[in-house]
Homo-oligomer: 335 residues x 2
Amino acid sequence: MSNQVTTVNGSGRVSGDISRGGGRPTMKDVATRAGVALKTVSRVVNREPGVTPETTQRVLGAIEDLGFRRNESARLLRTGHTATLGYIADSWTDPDHAAVYRGLENVAREHGYLLYSGSTDRDRGREERLALAMCARRVDGLVISPSQGAQDYLIPEIEAGVATVFVLRPPELERADTVLPDIVLPDQRAGARLAIAHLARLGHRKIGLLGEPAGPRSGALRSGYAEAMAAAGLTSDPAWLALDAAALAGTSVTAVFCANRERIASALRALGPRGVTVIGFGDFKFADLITPPVTVVSYDPVLIGSTAGELLLRRLAGEQGPPRQVRVPVRLVVR
Amino acid sequence: MSNQVTTVNGSGRVSGDISRGGGRPTMKDVATRAGVALKTVSRVVNREPGVTPETTQRVLGAIEDLGFRRNESARLLRTGHTATLGYIADSWTDPDHAAVYRGLENVAREHGYLLYSGSTDRDRGREERLALAMCARRVDGLVISPSQGAQDYLIPEIEAGVATVFVLRPPELERADTVLPDIVLPDQRAGARLAIAHLARLGHRKIGLLGEPAGPRSGALRSGYAEAMAAAGLTSDPAWLALDAAALAGTSVTAVFCANRERIASALRALGPRGVTVIGFGDFKFADLITPPVTVVSYDPVLIGSTAGELLLRRLAGEQGPPRQVRVPVRLVVR
DNA sequence: CTGAAAGCGCTTACAG
DNA sequence: CTGAAAGCGCTTACAG
């Protein structure tokens, strides 16, 4: 797409130029104008009792006249906490990460927290820089989708009291709560079992796997697949494990199990109307409009976000105890 | 989907309970430990010149021993700005709003800004509360996707120096920069023209409109459609303007122009394999997998976000002048 | 009912 | 090269 943009100045009806104003009024200014002490302004602003109606009116008048709005950052500096949480996602264009944010924000809003956020594109360096920048601003808590690699940089922060919850993928660090879908835990293959069992029920016996090219996580998926095949009473040809989209059309498999949305799309594009059943991890918008129909293993990412938020708030409320591992159920969306 | 989640405590291998630590070391603590004045610690931390290597080493040692990390919020309070921008979106599950965030974050990261963010679900009250909460934290700038209604609550903030840019939809307030796709400006119907002209080229003469049910924006779309029909030399039946998904199947139209992604999906679901051509605003992931193929009018939301960020930075750098209206081009994705 | 002082954790302006 | 004091905009603890 073209990067060209068009700029038009003014609308012909506007009041004038935009210029940066100078200096906001402070409580001190309000106090001077109202002829009271700083502390009295503070009392009025905080609705503390023990101020006569007349004084209150004078102060409120001065606030109105000056357009005073309290500097929350200054208040929070004195108070010790910041009423801020941070969220570090992979990417805003990944629907799961965006949906986790929605769930987290719901909880944050209800409890008066504001959110810092940023994305890493799965770059560990960006993850660390973002997390430490948020900690330097003294966020009360952090929700992180961990990139590949250790999270040791967080240990001093956690010890200093930053509540931390990892979501969506298991972290290496074992000193924080986690909220994961039931498909990524090493000892639980609920997702793979659901999918393979469904295909077996439909009569499929030759089921291929379209996974990640390589890396530490591809092994977990493969063993999950193997386990699920065995559980369904099926044997798997080693060749079915090493599939990529191009090889797919040349095999004898009648169904293919895909690691994620991108793989589902690759399989559909490679196969065309060949009658091979496609199933995989991750539902997506308007998936119901695709022919042939594609069944998916799905979970509720919004629930992951809200659960992470609630875990965070409980820790901030003082809950002690070992790290919690919360599993969000997966389900089959049959099409 | 079930709301049931499973919690497991501990992993059997962890070092112990999670507990909130107490108190971070401050510069004062570092100064005491290093046997220097506060100001000297500040010099070392800020890499100011004029500190002997020996003193520097003592201070760095104390920082290391204590695990000191400067409180950025306190520094910024003194400095006067916050190096923070705010982004207020409709919803994180709307791909356009998430993509705008990506573009904005790219610019923010390069320039050392952190981002507050929140979503409104198109609720004006939430928009106002979020924006004012961010201003109370003294964000330097704000990027807002405006909900229905006036944005007058922002006037004092803009006058106090909060740089503001509206994105995606035109605001009522005329005192801020805007970055909009070329389809929503009242005097520019590029998007509608592109779509209708394309259909006319394919030989369609009876083209329906599947728009918003009602409201102030449905009128704009209808006149855009009418204008585009006239520009293509076609006449439009009033009945084709009042379509909903259910009525669609009963009309004689051979093509239908849809206001947004949701309408595209409704049309496809209602029509099935009926041979009516569907076209509309808004591309989406895996749209190429849908049969019959659907052509869309699209734009680059990431570019909207980065452009908004650059506009913001220019204002923060002191640029004066009338509000700028930036238009991001739309294009046809033919399928 | 109201206020003067000290402090949150840092930087700025000035002195030695 | 180093430091003591004042201040960013607020709240806390105490006094009258």
